[in-house]
């Protein structure tokens, strides 16, 4: 295809991506170096019939005018990145020198909002992804063994958790595990503890969110593996069988290696999607016990006081995280691409 034709064909799509994905990343980078204006204070003389006193008051007009002329705020350099709500270098330094043990240091580290969110995001991503792969493969093997007639309906019901809106899916589970919901109430009876609430404990909240993550993503892995199973060559399986491989050995040494490229694909998709975890925290009203990087950005942007600078700094750090996650994949694709060209 000629360069010129290619250009006209790709133009709408490329323009949309540049204007609404590439430029916003630039805008985020710019915003992260600025911080909201301070309010302009003026000295006002307050006179009562008896005496006059001068007090400091906010000059609303001047503040508004300043915000109008410089909407970005005032330049702050890297200070937003290093303040307590982000990388918090100063706080880490004190925590390190004051802490007597490594455990105490980590306790202090996790009290800082950014590291707390990072810890949850990484735990969530790191736990959900492998569970999804293993469970997805198990379900795929099970469904593959079913009689043809019931396969369709089984796949239908299995797809539901995945295609459901994340917020709605988490609400549905939340209402069930809520203290008055069916699962929550049953747990209270089982443990004979009427005050038992999953929301009250940090560990249980994390487990609840991770269970939601596994529940909602397993169908994706299942479908991919299920399609992969249809393409496993039957003669290889038969050959293994003739050589005396047991059922388990056939799964372990024939099917699993054959699924390896699919595992890479699912891992990649899951890492990308789990790293941006946001809706379950809102659906489960879990923000007191668990926050994610996406959640702290949303929290900065919500409400009346919009902390653009702070949100932008967290966004930049999140983008760095995504880049770290993606680097191995990109390097690998680049090598494959070069190998193909040679």
């Amino acid at each position: 295809m000629k360069h010129r034709t290619f250009f006209w064909f790709i133009l709408p799509s490329l323009a949309a991506m540049i204007i609404f994905i590439a430029l916003p990343i630039g805008s985020v980078a710019l915003q992260s170096f600025f911080v909201e204006h301070d309010q302009i204070m003026v000295e006002v003389e307050n006179c009562t019939p008896f005496a006059c006193e001068t007090v400091l008051a906010v000059d609303q007009e001047a503040t508004a005018a300043l915000r109008e002329t410089a909407p970005l705020g005032k330049f702050n350099g890297f200070d937003t990145y290093t303040n307590r709500n982000h990388l918090a270098f100063a706080e880490i330094g004190t925590a390190w020198s004051e802490s007597t043990s490594l455990g105490a240091f980590f306790d202090k580290l996790l009290n800082l909002p950014f590291y707390w969110a990072l810890a949850f995001t990484l735990t969530y991503t790191g736990v959900v992804t492998p569970f999804v792969i293993v469970l997805g493969l198990a379900v795929a093997l099970g469904v593959n063994a079913l009689p043809r007639l019931v396969k369709g309906p089984t796949i239908f019901f299995s797809l539901l958790p995945m295609i459901t809106t994340p917020l709605i899916g988490s609400l549905i589970l939340f209402w069930m595990v809520d203290a008055d919901g069916i699962l929550g109430a049953t747990l209270q009876i089982i443990f004979d503890n009427p005050d038992l609430s999953l929301k009250a404990s940090t560990t249980l909240t994390w487990i609840m969110l991770i269970v939601y993550g596994i529940w909602s993503s397993t169908p994706f892995a299942f479908i991919v593996f299920y399609a992969g199973l249809q393409t496993v060559p039957q003669d290889t399986l038969e050959a293994a069988q003739i050589d005396g491989a047991s059922r388990w050995q056939r799964v372990r040494y024939v099917i699993v290696p054959y699924m390896a490229p699919l595992v890479v694909f699912i891992t990649l998709m899951q890492l990308m999607d789990n790293f941006r975890v946001l809706e379950p925290i809102i659906g489960f009203s879990a923000s007191a016990k668990a926050t994610s990087l996406s959640w702290i950005i949303l929290n900065d942007l919500f409400g009346d006081a919009k902390l653009f600078g702070s949100a932008a700094a967290t966004s930049m750090l999140t983008i760095v995280g995504v880049a770290v996650l993606l680097t191995p994949v990109l390097i690998r694709t680049w090598r494959d691409f070069n190998r193909k060209r040679v």
């Binding site: 295809m1 360069h3 290619f6 064909f9 790709i10 709408p12 799509s13 490329l14 949309a16 991506m17 609404f20 994905i21 590439a22 990343i25 805008s27 985020v28 909407p71 198990a138 379900v139 099970g142 079913l146 369709g152 089984t154 796949i155 019901f157 299995s158 797809l159 539901l160 295609i163 459901t164 809106t165 994340p166 709605i168 609400l171 549905i172 589970l173 209402w175 069930m176 008055d180 919901g181 069916i182 529940w215 479908i223 991919v224 399609a227 992969g228 490229p261 990308m272 941006r276 946001l278 809102i282 996406s294 949303l298 942007l301 653009f308 932008a312 999140t318 995504v322 993606l326 990109l330």
Partner: protein, 293 residues
């Protein structure tokens, strides 16, 4: 298939079937439970005393005189005017899908037919863009949109969703067009068509299966979105998902949790029918990227 060697022992069959049954209960159970419970009163659906109340609707019978009540739905759709949000969702999703597919088919076709190095780099860039958490992009939009008075309109959200959709749409349609033999559009061009005429008369008639599949995923992305629509739409333009999120705070105070339950079930209905009618396309679309590499 049924030779002696591949036949499974009874124990294995039982175990495997049991596992799948358990999975089905976990996967579909919560949905059935919530749909059933949405026709009850709060005292039943969130029954402290006895979970079977939600099955038989004991309190519902006492309060309304019937075992099922449409009270939650009336409250959500009429009193809270959820129909406005449903309409906004329809507008946003409809236009997002149409525009994404138009842009995506043109771009995906070009990428599939161009052997140059920059086509590869564009696909890589799209992959990186695909990985960007949506909320980080939103934090880039907000300030400029406020400044230029673009914030709050449905149109803005549609355009943003189209752009966020593009990386995925491009990848999917690109791999789909790779499977359409090059010869058919090239022979049209030998016969004197321009590239666009070849696309228009030869490719468009055969591309519908791929477009339908990609359209389904564009639909899901636009319909399920929370980050963009909750931050970029004003109160009166809210779509269903952000509205449900803002429901949560208000209805809990007023003791109208069933409104939220009814709204959630209402928002599930289109998704349910989507899987029902397009299961085959969804499955093939999910696996296209993986199996073909």
């Amino acid at each position: 298939m049924a030779n002696a060697a591949t036949r499974r022992s009874r124990g294995l069959v039982l175990f495997s079937t049991g596992f799948i049954l358990l999975w089905l209960v976990i996967a579909a159970g919560p949905f059935l439970w919530t749909v059933w419970g949405s026709f009850k009163v709060q005292g039943d659906f969130f029954s402290k005393a006895d979970w079977t109340f939600a099955l038989y609707g004991v309190k519902t019978l006492e309060e309304t005189g019937s075992a099922f009540t449409p009270g939650g739905y009336e409250g959500a759709w009429l009193q809270e005017e959820f129909w406005r949000n449903a309409m906004n969702t329809f507008i946003v999703v409809f236009f997002t899908v149409i525009i994404s597919l138009t842009f995506g088919t043109l771009g995906g076709y070009a990428l599939a037919r161009s052997g140059f190095r920059y086509a590869f780099w564009l696909l890589m860039a799209a992959l990186v863009f695909r990985a960007m958490p949506h909320i980080t992009l939103v934090s880039g939009y907000l300030l400029p949109f406020f400044e230029w008075n673009l914030w709050g309109h449905l149109t803005t959200s549609i355009i943003v969703l189209v752009a966020i959709n593009q990386p995925f749409t491009l990848w999917m349609l690109h791999s789909f067009f790779l499977n359409i033999p090059k010869d058919i559009d090239e022979s049209a061009m030998v016969d004197g068509c321009t590239r666009f005429q070849a696309f228009r008369h030869v490719i468009i008639p055969v591309m519908w299966p791929g477009v339908v599949t990609t359209g389904l995923f564009s639909f899901l992305l636009a319909y399920n979105d929370f980050a963009v629509t909750s931050m970029l739409l004003s109160q009166e333009n809210q779509t269903m998902v952000p509205r449900i999120a803002s429901f949560l705070g208000t209805v809990r105070e007023q003791g109208n949790v069933m409104f939220a339950v009814a709204a959630v079930v209402s928002a599930l209905v289109p998704l349910f029918f989507l899987v029902l009618f397009f299961q085959r396309q969804l499955v093939s679309g999910l696996t296209a990227g993986a199996v073909k590499g």
